[in-house]
Structure formats: C-alpha cells, structure tokens
C-alpha cells in the first residue's frame, strides 16, 4: 500500500499511457479495423525482429536527447520548446566540423563533433535565455521564435555553404569517415541503430546524477521549485536561467548525432523530422526524470516504427494513428494531477477507514 501511494504519480502516468492506447484502439474499431490486428501490427512492427527493434531504438535516440533537454529546463521551471531548432543547429554544426576536418580519426572526431553539436544548441538556448533575462521576453515565445531563426541559419549552411552540388537532394557534402558513428548491428540487425543510442543512455545517467547529487543540480531544482527561497539564499535566478537554458539547448543540439553522424553521414534539410517537438511530449510523459524520459522515448520510438506497418498491413487506417495515440497519451498525462489528487484522497480515506 505504501509503495502504491508513494509512486502514485508513476502509476497514474502508466494508466494514462494505457488509456491513450485503448482510446486509439477504440477509434480503430470505430473505423472498422480490428483492434487486436492494429495492436499486433504496432507491437510486431516495433519489436518483432532485431531490425524492427533496432529501428525503434534508432527513432528513440533523438527523442531521449530532446526529452532530456526539455526536462532539464523544466527542472528550472522553464519551458523550452525550441528543441527542434536547437537540434537542427546542432546537427548542422556536427556536419560542418565533419566536412571541414574530414581527415580526423574517430577518437578525436567523435568528441569534437559532439562538442560542436552541444555548443551550437547551447548558443541557441543561451540567446533565448539572454532575451528572457535582459529583455523580459518569455522563454516560450523566445524559444519558439528561435526555431525559425535556427531553420534559416541551418538552411544557409545546408543549401549554400556546404551544399553537395552533385545531389538533387537538399543536403550537405558527406562528413569524413572518422566522424561516422559505428553501427550497433548486434542489437539492431540491419537497422541504422548506432552508438549515439549508447551516448543517449550515458547522457541520461549523467543528467540524473547531476540533477540529484550535485550542486549544479540542486541550484537548478531550487531556482525552479522555489525561486523566492533560492533568491533569498543568495542564488542568482538570472544566472540559473541562463545556465539551464544553455544546457537544455546543448542537450537538444546532441539529438542530431544519431541521424547526421550515425545514419545519413551528412546533414539533409529537415533531418530533425519533428523530434524536438515530440521531445516535449517525451519529457511530460517521463515526468522530467531522465529514466522516465528513456522509457517514454522508447515508447514513442517504438510507436513511430510500429506505425509504419499500419499503412501496409491494414486497409482502413494509416500511420497517422501513431500521432493520434501520442496526442491521446499527452492529453491523458496532462489530466494526471487531477486524477492523482482524487486517487490520493480516496486511498487515504480507505487507509483511515481500515485502521
């Protein structure tokens, strides 16, 4: 009983996920498609073979980074919805160093590329923070507008400066071989799953440690959880805001690694494919906890892969059902505090009556 009460938020979140899935399956039934077939196709498509699992993990990789990024800012009470743009800039920066320093060996190239990606994302986050702190522009507004600026800058680099003239696709020249991340074919079969997935897990573990066990993390949590207290204890909220948004942007900047360094080996216009925005849902579902973010990202990555097969294996519904499921889950998660408060009261009353 104590375990249930203590972790009630997680149970309600899990309930929200199940509710989202059930509602979507119900929708499929209304449209005339057998819910069990849809569920089978989704699950089989996501984890049915090593390659499918590999794809699910591959799709989850950028979501872990962007989910971490959004979570990090949320800890400081800030809502970063610029992860999409930060991811784009980060990926372009990785491609840029990969093209300019194409001769480097992997031992130097990988850290350099990750550093460039982090730096580019962090600068975008820092600019948003600067406007918030110095000019009073709300970070939601600042970060969403920064997305457009990021697309523009990324376009300049992809389509003009580093454009591959012998390709009809809007993409850069290929990166040097030292920059290409190794494939994880042991887990992922012939899918594009690569080392970036391991990086993502490592970054999540580090983020969890930093948030819970270090001074940096404590300052971050205090500035978000109890700003007045933090201010009176001598913390500069402005500085914490700057730092939080810059690190958040940096984490989002790393999200492109799996696509740019691990799969395409070049930056193509639109490579982020919405991962920055799905990252917001991942962070909400993961409740701002790095481990929760991993689980949520795996769920959404699996959903993305599983839904590809809906087009092939069902007649009446398409992959857009995945978007519906995502939306329903997010809505159910958003309703969580209400459900949770009610459930907690009920549980406590039962406990009192029992004793």
């Amino acid at each position: 009983m104590n375990f249930v009460t203590k972790n009630i938020s997680w149970f309600v979140t899990l309930g929200a996920v199940l509710l989202g899935f059930s509602a979507a399956l119900l929708l499929a039934a209304v449209l005339g498609e057998s819910p069990s077939l849809v569920a089978t196709v989704l699950i089989r498509g996501a984890v049915g073979s090593a390659t499918s699992l590999g794809y699910s993990l591959y799709y989850a990789t950028p979501l872990i980074f962007t989910g971490l990024a959004v979570s990090w800012a949320l800890k400081a009470g800030l809502f970063n919805i610029g992860a999409e743009g930060q991811m784009t800039l980060g990926g372009v920066a990785m491609a840029a160093v990969g093209i300019l320093a194409s001769g480097l060996p992997a031992a130097v190239a990988w850290p350099l590329a990750l550093f460039a990606g982090f730096g580019a994302g962090a600068s975008a986050g820092w600019i948003v923070a600067w406007f918030k702190v110095r000019r009073g522009v709300h970070e939601v507004l600042g970060s969403i507008l920064m997305n457009f600026v990021s697309y523009g800058i990324a376009g300049l680099f992809i389509l003009n400066i580093f454009r591959n003239p012998s390709s009809q696709n809007p993409e850069t020249l290929p990166i040097g071989p030292g920059f290409e991340l190794s494939q994880l074919s042991l887990i992922g079969g012939t899918s594009p799953l690569n080392v970036a997935f391991v990086f993502a897990l490592v970054f999540a573990a580090v983020a969890d440690f930093v948030i819970r066990r270090t001074r940096l993390g404590m300052n971050l949590r205090w500035s978000g959880g109890a700003p007045e207290f933090a201010r009176r204890s001598g913390l500069s909220i402005d500085r914490e805001t700057m730092r939080a948004l810059a690190i958040s942007g940096g984490l989002a900047g790393l999200a492109g690694a799996s696509v740019v360094l691990g799969y395409m080996h070049k930056a193509r216009e639109g490579f982020s494919a919405g991962a920055g925005f799905i990252g917001i849902a991942v962070a909400l579902l993961g409740r701002g906890n790095p481990w929760g973010v991993i689980v949520a990202a795996l769920l959404f990555g699996g959903l993305q892969k599983g839904s590809l097969d809906l087009d092939i294996d069902t007649d009446k519904i398409s992959r857009d059902l995945a978007g519906v499921i995502q939306a329903l889950i997010v809505m159910a998660v958003a309703a969580r505090p209400v459900i949770e408060a009610g459930l907690r009261t009920w549980l406590e009353r039962r406990k009192r009556e029992a004793t």
Partner: protein, 365 residues
C-alpha cells in the same frame, strides 16, 4: 522548523524520482516484447497471401513525399500500379513517406515480407535503395527518376527535356502577349532541365518571346506549397505572361488557380492535368511514370525482370504531350506543326538542350 522547511522544499524539488519505478517499467516493456513474440506465431497479418511469382504476387510501392493524391507525379505511379494490378491480378501495397527517414524501413519491410519487387518513386529514394538492395539480393528493386546500380535494381529515367521543348514550342505558338512563364518546384538540376528545354522550345517557335521563370523554393517543401505557386504565377501574369508551365508537384495547384482567376492558360506536368481546370489548361507535359511502373510490374510477372538503367523519351512515349477532350479545341490548329517538331526531335534533327549535359555532375542522384 527550519529543518521542516528544508525537507518540504527538498521533496518539492526532487519531486518523485524513486529509484525502483524505472526498472519496473523497463521490465514491463520486456514482458510486452515477449508477449508480442509469441503473438507472431499465432498469425502474421498480411504475409499469408503473398506469393513469389506469377499472378497473385504482392508488389511494394514506396511513394515520394507528395503523397498519392498529388494529382501529378505520385498519382501517376499509383495509376500505373493499379492498371497492372487489374490486368495481372497482382496485389499492390503502397506506403507514403512523411519524411526521408521513412523510405528505408518501408523498403526493408517490403523486402522482408518476401515481396519479389519493390518500387521506389522519386530521386530521394536512391540512397536508401542502394543500401536495402544490397542487403536483399534476391528481391528486385526499381527506382523512378534516379539511378541505382546493382545486379537486382532497374532504374527509370525520363528525357524530360524533350517533352518540355515540345510544350514550350506550343506555348510559343499560342501566346498572344509574346510572354510566357515557368513555375518550378524545388530548384534542382532536374527542374532546371525542364526550364532550359522549355525556354528553347518557346524561342524556337517565337524568337521574340520572353520567358519568365521562378522557383517555389530550395527545400523539399517547395513541392507542396500551392499558395506560393499561385503568388509566383500571379506575378508572372502581372508582367504579361499568358501561358504558365509548372513543374512544381502539388504547388502547381496554385498555378491552376491563378490562370483560372486571370483567364490565361497553364501547362500541366507529369500526369494529364488537362481536366483540373478544363479549358484553361493548354496541355500537360506527360511523364509516363505510370507506364514505367506498369512495365516493370509486367516484366516481373512475366519473369523477365532486367536490371540496369532505362530511359524514356518522346520516341517511346515516355514523355509526351496530353491531348484530350478538354484541350482539343485549343491545340488542334497547331497539331500539325507540333507533330513535325516531335518527329524532328526523335530523328535528332532538333537537338534539345539538356541541362544535365551542361552540368556533368548533376542529375541521376
């Protein structure tokens, strides 16, 4: 008191984060995985009816981002596949790709299901097909508008410049203002190829004519931006153009709206678009993607699939000019001259400028 305050703050900041929960959720996912694996044996949907040869085989069609209702390039591919499905009794499974990352898993899924032939529509699929085709040597692959080399891949290219020259020639004959327009989709070598030949055709028919040209954009979204297409068309009409040729995918719908509004003419592309605005579409530069798709399916069914590059031009009606009830009255007076031009292109008497040849590294990829 102070201690309490600290504790409650700690709790608020830390929030949840009990360490046990994440492992439990991971364990749950593992259970789900196991359950799904057992389900697989119970019955794999979609794969039971697939055959490997002859009539009744299943063929995979991976469409480009425009989607099968673009009334142009992808629609043509679907039409060809459906025609083949009807005639040969094959089953077509098609997938639309929302982004570049979806091509490869779609092709792979088709190949894994044991489909004998997988067709990719559009040059964006060349890179993923190169990879997948190498991993499934027993599956046949076909790519439209790009070249992929491999012992199990056939590639279909179109001589877009020949058809563009022909419709350009018609535009040059028909224009009253002596000014015509061109609205391209994404600014790439292939669309430049359309433009270069179109200009040459116009000038050949009417040496004093002026050609305005604009592109919708430089990214893939340029294929799906009708409002920008309309804006460009209106601006060209404003400068005096009375015929506008579009090679802009779904963005071309805006061009049709503009010519209807301003009572001038448009020239369609890829599919027969004469019926979109009857009477206002002079003709359509057909790119018989449907024939290519139909042919490759036929060769597969008849067991004579042949890898390697193929090219379709005016000669084999791979590119052509659409004439039907909607535009017959408009083009009838010029048909004799146009047939002459067509013959001269085929015989090589007229050499149509080819943008690819001016840019040796462009195209094909």
């Amino acid at each position: 008191m102070r201690q309490n305050l600290f504790h409650s703050l700690r709790a608020r900041c830390l929030g949840f984060a009990p360490n046990l929960v994440a492992p439990i959720l991971v364990a749950l996912m593992v259970v789900v995985t196991l359950v799904s694996c057992t389900k697989k044996e119970a019955g794999t949907p979609g794969s039971s009816s697939e055959k490997l040869a002859g009539p009744g085989i299943t063929i995979g069609l991976v469409l480009d981002k425009g989607g099968k209702d673009d009334k142009s390039f992808n629609s043509a591919a679907v039409a060809g596949a459906e025609r083949a499905a009807k005639e040969f009794g094959v089953v077509i499974k098609d997938v639309e790709s929302p982004d570049d990352a979806a091509f490869e898993p779609a092709m792979r899924t088709f190949a894994e299901r044991g489909m004998p032939l997988v067709i990719g529509i559009g040059f964006a699929q060349t890179d993923p097909m190169k990879k997948v085709a190498a991993q499934f040597p027993k599956t046949h692959f076909a790519v439209i508008d790009g070249v992929v080399e491999g012992p199990n891949v056939t590639s279909f290219m179109f001589e877009e410049h020949e058809g563009s020259y022909l419709v350009g020639y018609l535009a040059g004959l028909v224009t009253k203002t002596g000014k015509v327009g061109f609205v391209g989709g994404m600014e790439i070598a292939m669309i430049r190829r359309f433009l270069m030949a179109y200009e040459a055709g116009v000038i050949a028919a009417n040496p004093k004519a002026k050609v305005f040209s604009n592109f919708v954009g430089i990214t893939a979204s340029a294929w799906a931006n009708p409002s920008k297409g309309k804006e460009l068309a209106l601006s060209q009409i404003g400068q005096g153009a009375d015929i506008i040729f579009h090679a802009a995918g779904a963005s071309g719908m805006g061009v049709f709206d503009a010519v209807e509004e301003k009572k001038v003419f448009a020239i369609g592309v890829d599919s027969n678009q004469n019926g979109i605005k009857p009477g206002r579409v002079l003709t359509s530069m057909l790119k018989r993607v449907d024939n290519a798709v139909y042919e490759v399916i036929r060769s597969e069914v008849e067991g004579r699939f042949k890898p390697g590059p193929n090219s379709f031009g005016l000669k084999d009606k791979g590119v052509d000019m659409a004439v039907d009830a909607n535009n017959e009255a408009l083009v009838a007076p010029h048909m004799k001259k146009l047939d002459e031009v067509r013959e001269q292109i085929i015989s090589g008497k007229i050499v149509v400028p080819d943008f690819y040849k001016t840019q040796p590294t462009s195209g094909t990829k």
